[in-house]
């Protein structure tokens, strides 16, 4: 914040050097010009954001106040119904069930991602170079795999009849997994989605944290261990404070990502198996809006969802700003 008025400060500082009213005008012009430059520079971005984000958002909000189903789509004219869509959504227990389910799902996914990610990053630091390169390569490969392809591979691996997972578990003598159904219950369906998401999210978290760990001063670590600190103590008092901002960003981003998950949940559970018992927010909006061709109601759910994500983001941005100030 403190850096933005800099050009003006410079202009003001230059003023006392000039004498006489006649020389003031060009200076004022220059002052106006230099004040406008930053705005001109951000203008393209603002216009682009307004066009690609602002306009759809405006349409979304107006849509949420209209009855807009298939007949209206064909007539290309919605009917204003005020808060009817919101009333209907908020009065629908499916919405609340889905919201609670999505929050629990997000909490579990984020916790697993962050804990496993941190452990793997700490492991990465302690590994010998060849093993570290191997592990890093594996992580990058997992990260670069397109989601839809990954889902398909998971579907094959966990297939009821011919899946390699059932075969391997049975062959290794873990138990009788012949024709084990990994998608038998709502819990197991969502657990499979969780596994897939955590697997997909880990590379980014591990590599970011690993980069952060390289910022921990080695001499501090050495000094701490010479002073007789246990490894837990070293982690808590030396490593953790350095990692804190990165952990914070990653957790916040993961919450936002996992809250809005659609692709993995819809494809892994499958179009023929998603139902009110296993909806996550993304799937729910898709079925209500598109499956039922009730675009107005779908828009209302999206607006509510957007507000929830915005709340999460405000929290995150405030924390970030505060951290920057204290730094």
């Amino acid at each position: 914040m403190s850096r933005r008025p800099a050009p003006q400060v410079a202009a003001v500082a230059a003023e006392p050097l000039t004498l006489g009213a006649r020389q003031r005008r060009p200076l004022t012009l220059r002052r106006v010009g230099s004040a406008a430059v930053p705005y001109l520079l951000v203008a393209p971005v603002v216009i682009a954001i307004a066009a690609v984000l602002g306009y759809p958002l405006y349409k979304l909000v107006t849509l949420s106040f209209q009855r807009y189903g298939l007949p209206e789509l064909i007539q290309r004219k919605g009917e204003w119904v005020g808060l009817d869509n919101f009333r209907s959504v908020l009065g629908d227990e499916v919405f609340w069930d889905t919201l609670v389910r999505t929050i629990v799902f997000t909490a579990v996914n984020v916790a697993l991602t962050m804990v496993l990610g941190l452990l793997l990053a700490l492991l990465l630091v302690r590994l010998s170079t060849p093993v570290r390169v191997l592990l890093t390569t594996g992580l990058v490969l997992a990260w670069s795999m397109p989601v839809v392809v990954a889902v398909q591979v998971w579907i094959w691996m966990t297939n009821f009849q011919n899946g390699i997972l059932n075969y391997t578990l049975t062959t290794l003598g873990v138990g009788d997994y012949f024709q084990h159904d990994w998608y038998a219950t709502t819990f197991s369906k969502l657990a499979m989605v969780t596994l897939l998401i955590v697997w997909g999210a880990l590379p980014f978290v591990v590599l970011s944290l690993y980069a952060g760990l390289s910022q921990v001063p080695r001499e501090l670590l050495e000094a701490a261990s010479i002073d007789g600190a246990s490894s837990w103590r070293v982690f808590r008092d030396v490593t953790y404070p350095v990692l804190k901002p990165i952990l914070y960003i990653l957790t916040s981003l993961s919450i936002i990502w996992d809250f809005g998950v659609f692709t993995q949940a819809y494809l892994l559970i499958g179009a023929s198996q998603v139902n009110v018992d296993n909806y996550l927010m993304g799937v729910y909006v898709f079925i209500e809006g598109y499956g039922h061709s009730d675009f107005g109601r779908g828009a209302a759910i999206s607006v509510l969802w957007l507000l929830i994500v915005a709340l999460l983001s405000v929290f995150y941005v405030r924390k970030m700003v505060r951290m920057e100030e204290t730094a």
Binding site: G260, G282, F295
Partner: protein, 412 residues
């Protein structure tokens, strides 16, 4: 993981883009028409029939090009919605019979009642198909062809176990048990049925005199919790548990039943007649079909009659669209369609093949405008999974599904 948050929003944005794109009007140029057929009609033995219809159409309308675009069942409705919003819908569209009602109710098609007499065989159209093309006493869809469901079975295994083609459900169940004992393989299904194959499960409901839903003085009511429907669902559960080793929670595409059959893991399977296409070279000569028997000896079990209709969307060129439909549903065209194994749209051409016998006794989904929402909300599949896995009793699962169906069908 990347675009996850935006995923949902992007969908909405896409919807908006579709809605916003209210560009140029729909009046198609008269020098060409666009026809949407499903990819099935792109098969090597099917496409010539389409071409012949195009030629017949062009003899009457010289200089009008026919632009046939092939669609897939999975996403043709979403594409159709977008074209309706954009005002550039095709001139003719093929619709599944279960998809028609919602679109007719929304006013997506042009009324072709006055042309009815000029379509070939319109007085002998198959009842099940013709019903799907009518709404509010008006005609919006012309029957195209139907597909019945039969049992495809391994003649060698039946012979080895000394089983004759069953004539009742009880006989079939006993035969399945015998086959299972004979094979003694845990992966082998005497009758492969995907647990949540609701088309097959509902046949048991109708066989017992039950229904899915009924319209009572303008309001829909789910009827799966009635004693007759519960008897049907119980019969389905018992038959499944005796005959199938398929997953209790999967659908009939993961895996495809004919893939299981081609691997040698099924003594028979239930599904559309064309399943016999894909059983593999090894079993092709050892494969035959019969009509699913009813609980009443000597009767067929009512089967789901799938099928397609042809309609002229709003904004399309009605006279050219209707004329193309006339050419494609002509007696000659129907005779050709029948010759490649489809059920023609008219009883006058119906023969005595196993598919055609199966088509004689059929049931159809409730003709409610919201029926599609019951399908894509997976209410019936969820109920079947609950029943087969034992999570809920038949009565509990049926009651909950039935209540759901009532509320979905009556939603505005």
């Amino acid at each position: 993981m990347r675009a996850r948050i935006i995923g949902g929003l992007a969908l909405v944005a896409a919807a908006l883009a579709a809605i916003a794109a209210t560009a140029s009007g729909g009046a198609a140029a008269t020098n060409s028409i666009t026809v949407w057929l499903q990819v099935d009609a792109q098969a090597a033995n099917w496409e010539p029939i389409v071409k012949a219809a195009n030629a017949a159409f062009q003899r009457e309308h010289p200089g009008v090009a026919v632009n046939v675009q092939y669609q897939t069942w999975g996403n043709h409705l979403q594409k159709f919605d977008a074209t309706l919003a954009g005002g550039n819908a095709p001139d003719v569209i093929e619709m599944g019979n279960t998809e028609m009602t919602k679109y007719m109710a929304a006013g997506a098609f042009q009324d072709i009642t006055s042309d009815r007499g000029s379509f070939a065989n319109s007085s002998t159209w198959l009842d099940g198909l013709a019903a799907a093309g009518r709404y509010g006493g008006k005609l919006y869809g012309v029957p195209y062809y139907a597909g019945s469901r039969v049992v495809t079975y391994r003649t060698d295994l039946f012979k080895k176990a000394n089983i004759k083609v069953p004539t009742s459900l009880a006989e079939f169940t006993a035969a399945a048990r015998k086959l299972g004992r004979q094979q003694g393989d845990r992966a082998f299904s005497p009758v492969y049925i995907a647990g949540t194959d609701w088309y097959f499960a509902m046949s048991f409901v109708y066989d017992n005199g039950g229904t899915i839903a009924r319209q009572i003085s303008g309001k829909w009511k789910g009827t799966l919790a009635s004693p007759k429907a519960i008897a049907g669902l119980t019969a389905y559960r018992n038959f499944f548990l005796a005959a199938s080793r398929a997953s209790k929670t999967t659908d009939e595409t993961k895996p495809n039943p004919y893939d299981v059959y081609a691997q040698g893991n099924a003594g028979s399977m239930v599904g559309p007649g064309w399943f016999s296409c894909c059983v593999g070279d090894k079993y092709k000569p050892l494969t035959a079909q019969f009509v699913m028997p009813s609980r009443i000896k000597g009767q067929p079990m009512p089967g789901f009659l799938g099928g397609s209709l042809l309609a002229v969307p709003i904004g399309a060129n009605k006279s050219l669209g209707a004329d193309w439909i006339k050419a494609y549903t002509s007696n000659q065209s129907m005779t050709s369609l029948r010759s490649i194994g489809n059920i023609p749209n008219t009883t006058s051409l119906l023969g005595n093949s196993v598919f055609e016998r199966a088509a004689r006794k059929s049931w159809f989904v409730p003709t409610a405008k919201n029926w599609v929402n019951v399908e894509n909300g997976n209410i019936l599949r969820n109920m079947l999974a609950q029943i087969l896995t034992g999570k809920l009793s038949v009565r509990q699962a049926a009651q909950s599904a039935s209540d759901n169906i009532s509320s979905v069908l009556n939603a505005s």
